[in-house]
C-alpha cells in the first residue's frame, strides 16, 4: 500500500512540526493518527530519515501502544470497557451484545464500515459501570437498549 499524495503531505507537515521537539514520537504519532485515522507503515521511511531513527525503532514504538493503529478503522470507534469495575456490573454481557449486533470480534470493523469494536481497560467512569466510549464520548450505565441507540445514532449521522 502506497501513500496517497495528501497522506504524504500531511505526514511531512507533522514531521516538520515536531522536528525539534524532545520526545517527538508520541505527539507526532497522535497527530498523524488524528489526521489520517491510522498510521500508515509507509510513513516510517519519512519519519526515519527526518528523525534519524531506524524503521525498526519506529515500528517498535507504534506497536507498543494500544491506541495506535496501522490500518484504517471504521468511521467510528466503539470501545467497550473490560476492566474490573465494569465486570462487576455485567460488562461481559455488554461485550457479547456488541459483538453480536455488529457481527464482529474485537479489533474488527462492521461490514458496512461504520463501527470498529475495540476493548478498553478503564475509562475512569467506574462509578457508573458498565461504560463504553463512542469516539470521544463516554456513556455510563449502558444496557443493550443504550447500545442500540448509540449504534443507531452513528449509523444515521
Amino acid at each position: 500500500m502506497n501513500l496517497s499524495e495528501t497522506q504524504r503531505i500531511t505526514i511531512e507537515k507533522h514531521v516538520e512540526t515536531f522536528l525539534t521537539k524532545p520526545g517527538a514520537l508520541l505527539p507526532l504519532m497522535h497527530a498523524i493518527q488524528d489526521s489520517l485515522g491510522y498510521i500508515p507503515e509507509d510513513s516510517y521511511p519519512i519519519i526515519s530519515s527526518a528523525y534519524n531513527l531506524s524503521i525498526a525503532e519506529i515500528h517498535g514504538f507504534v506497536t507498543f501502544y494500544h491506541h495506535f493503529r496501522t490500518s484504517p478503522s471504521g468511521k467510528n470507534i466503539l470501545q467497550v470497557c473490560r476492566a474490573e469495575s465494569c465486570q462487576s456490573m455485567g460488562s461481559e454481557s455488554i461485550e457479547n451484545y456488541c459483538k453480536k449486533v455488529l457481527g464482529v470480534d474485537y479489533h474488527e470493523t462492521s461490514k458496512d464500515g461504520v463501527i470498529t469494536l475495540e476493548p478498553v481497560y478503564c475509562l475512569g467512569n467506574c462509578a457508573c459501570s458498565p461504560s463504553v466510549m463512542m469516539n470521544d464520548k463516554v456513556i455510563g450505565r449502558v444496557t443493550p437498549e443504550k447500545i442500540d441507540n448509540i449504534i443507531k445514532a452513528v449509523k444515521q449521522s
Binding site: 524532545p22 520526545g23 508520541l26 494500544h66 491506541h67 476492566a83 456490573m89 467506574c126 462509578a127 455510563g140
Partner: protein
C-alpha cells in the same frame, strides 16, 4: 431577577446525560421567560445522583437529582429554580449524608466552582499556597511537605518530601516535574476529577513543586482515554499563562515555570514511573532498572520529580494551611486524607475524601449503601487491578497503608471495586493474569511469560487437572513473579490471584481441600 443554577460538566455526569439536561433546562427557561444563570460546575462526586442539578438559595445550594430530560418540565412546574421542594428534591447539598461526613481538603473546591473560572478559584483559597511558597526558601517548602507526612497517592505511598529532597539535593541546571496522570487502575477516577473539575489546583501544585526542587518545566502525562480532561487542562494552562501564574517571573517572584500536557497512547504500564519517562522521551514504555532513581536521573537523564495528580494537587492546601494542619488528619504513618473512589457493584458510588483510618465496612455500607444488585457483597478489590481481593472477613481493616500491607493488600490509589456473590473469583484471578499479559512491557521474564502460564494453570485447576500439583505450581509462580519482576506490574499481579485462591478456593473447584 436571575436564578443561579449549577449543572455539572464532569465526564461521568456527561456520560449520564448532563449536557442533554443542560440543553433542556436552558430551552425550557427560554420558553417560560425565566432568567437563569447556568454555571457548569464540577461534580460533587455523588455519581449515583448525577446529573445533579443545584440551585443557589439564601440558605445555601439545594440539590435535585438524578435529573433526566423527562423531569425538566416538572421541575419548572414546581419552580425548582427557587429551591422549592418537589420531585427529585434532595435538600441542601452540604447537608447530604455523603458530603457531610467527609473531610475534603484536596477536593475542597471540586463540584463547587466552575473549573475554568480562575477568579472563582482564587475566591475559594486558590493560589494561597503558591503565594505562601513564594515567600519561602526551596528547602523550607520541601520541609513543609515532608512534615505534612504526604505520601505518593499514585499507589506506591513513597514520602513525597523525601523524593523532593533528593531532587533538590541533586545539582543540575535542568530538572523536571512530571505529573503522572496515567490513571489506568479500574475503579479509580480521582485524578480525572481533579483535572476536569479543579485543574488550577494541579497547576498550582506543579508550580510549587518546581519552586521547591529547582525545576522550571513540567509535563502532565495524561492517558488518552481522558479527552475531556485534556481539553480542560489545556484551557486552564492557557488561562494561567495569561494571568501570569505560568511563564517567567511568576507573580514577580523571580521563579519561572511552564508546563504542557502530553497525551499517552493507551499502555497501562506507562503509569509505572520509569516506563512513563521512556514514553515521554518518545520511546516504547519499557520499564527501567532502578537505580538510578528518577529523582537523580529521570527524564532525559535529569533529576525529575514524578508525582501523581492527587499528590501534587494536595500540596497547595499543605502550603496554605501548614504541615501540621494536614498531618493532624489520618492515623499512624498514613497522614492526611485520601480521596477514596467507590465503584463497581454498589448502590451509591462516587468520591469520598476521608482521613485515613475509615474501615472498608463503613465505606461499603454507610456510604455505598450495599451492593447495587441487592445481593451480598462477596469481595472488594482495593487499589486497582494489582490489588488483592478482600473477603467480608477483612472489611473491618482500617484504610491505612501499613494495616493493608499487613494483610498482603494495598491501598494503592484509593479505588474500591465491589463484587456481589454472583462473581466467579477464579475467573477474576484469571483475568488478572490476562490483563498482565496484555499490558506487560515484556522486559522481564516473570511478568512476560508468567502471566500467560498463570492463565493456563488456572484453566487446568478449574478443569480438574492435577489440582494439587497445579495449585502448588500457581503459588510457586506467584512467588516467582512477586520476587523476580522488575516492577509492580508483574510483582503485584499475584496479589489478586493468590488472595482469590486463598479466600475463594471453591470458585477454583478446590472445595474439599480447604477444609
Amino acid at each position: 431577577m436571575t436564578y443561579k443554577i449549577y449543572i455539572p460538566i464532569d465526564s461521568t455526569a456527561l456520560s449520564l446525560g448532563a449536557n442533554d439536561v443542560f440543553y433542556a433546562i436552558t430551552a425550557e427557561a427560554k420558553k417560560r421567560k425565566i432568567d437563569l444563570t447556568v454555571i457548569r460546575n464540577g461534580s460533587r462526586g455523588l455519581f449515583w445522583l448525577e446529573p445533579l442539578v443545584e440551585v443557589e438559595t439564601k440558605s445555601g445550594r439545594v440539590a435535585f437529582g438524578p435529573v433526566t430530560t423527562n423531569d425538566v418540565e416538572k421541575l419548572f412546574d414546581q419552580e425548582f429554580y427557587l429551591g422549592k421542594e418537589g420531585v427529585l428534591f434532595l435538600g441542601l447539598t452540604d447537608d447530604l449524608h455523603w458530603l457531610k461526613n467527609q473531610e475534603r481538603l484536596t477536593f475542597a473546591r471540586v463540584g463547587i466552582t466552575d473549573p475554568l473560572d480562575i477568579n472563582d478559584y482564587e475566591k475559594h483559597a486558590g493560589f494561597n499556597g503558591l503565594r505562601k511558597a513564594i515567600e519561602l526558601e526551596p528547602q523550607l517548602i520541601v520541609n513543609e511537605v515532608t512534615d505534612s507526612g504526604l505520601r505518593g497517592r499514585g499507589g506506591a505511598a513513597f514520602p513525597t518530601g523525601i523524593k523532593w529532597q533528593t531532587v533538590l539535593n541533586t545539582p543540575s541546571k535542568t530538572k523536571y516535574i512530571v505529573c503522572n496522570a496515567d490513571e489506568g487502575d479500574s475503579g479509580t477516577f480521582s485524578d480525572r476529577m481533579i483535572m476536569e473539575n479543579d485543574p488550577f489546583v494541579l497547576i498550582e501544585g506543579m508550580i510549587i513543586a518546581g519552586m521547591a526542587v529547582g525545576a522550571e518545566y513540567g509535563y502532565i502525562y495524561l492517558r488518552s482515554e481522558y479527552p475531556d480532561a485534556q481539553e480542560v487542562l489545556n484551557k486552564a494552562i492557557n488561562i494561567a499563562k495569561e494571568k501570569g501564574f505560568l511563564g517567567n517571573n511568576i507573580l514577580s517572584s523571580g521563579y519561572n515555570f511552564d508546563l504542557e500536557v502530553t497525551r499517552a497512547a493507551g499502555a497501562y504500564i506507562c503509569g509505572e514511573e520509569t516506563s512513563l519517562l521512556e514514553s515521554l522521551e518518545g520511546k516504547r514504555g519499557m520499564v527501567r532498572y532502578k537505580p538510578p532513581l528518577p529523582a537523580i536521573e529521570g527524564l532525559y537523564g535529569k533529576p525529575t520529580a514524578v508525582n501523581n495528580v492527587i499528590t501534587l494537587a494536595t500540596v497547595p492546601i499543605i502550603m496554605d494551611k501548614g504541615a501540621s494542619f494536614y498531618a493532624d488528619f489520618g492515623m499512624g504513618r498514613s497522614k492526611g486524607t485520601l480521596p477514596i473512589q467507590l465503584a463497581g457493584n454498589l448502590k451509591q458510588t462516587g468520591l469520598i475524601e476521608k482521613a485515613f483510618g475509615i474501615s472498608l465496612r463503613e465505606l461499603l455500607y454507610d456510604f455505598g449503601g450495599g451492593s447495587f444488585t441487592g445481593n451480598p457483597i462477596k469481595a472488594v478489590q482495593v487499589g486497582g487491578p494489582l490489588g488483592a481481593f478482600l473477603p467480608e472477613g477483612q472489611f473491618d481493616t482500617p484504610l491505612d497503608y501499613e494495616k493493608f500491607s499487613e494483610i498482603n493488600a494495598v491501598v494503592g490509589h484509593g479505588g474500591i471495586v465491589a463484587f456481589d456473590d454472583t462473581t466467579d473469583m477464579a475467573k477474576m484471578a484469571r483475568y488478572s493474569f490476562e490483563f498482565c499479559a496484555i499490558e506487560s512491557c515484556g522486559k522481564c521474564t516473570p511478568c512476560r511469560i508468567g502471566s500467560t502460564r498463570g492463565m493456563e494453570v488456572i484453566d487446568k485447576i478449574k478443569g480438574g487437572i492435577d489440582q494439587d500439583k497445579n495449585e502448588k505450581l500457581l503459588r510457586d509462580l506467584g512467588e516467582t513473579m512477586v520476587n523476580g519482576s522488575l516492577c509492580a506490574m508483574g510483582g503485584m499481579t499475584p496479589f489478586p490471584v493468590i488472595s482469590a485462591l486463598n479466600f475463594f478456593p471453591k470458585d477454583f473447584g478446590l472445595e474439599k481441600k480447604k477444609a
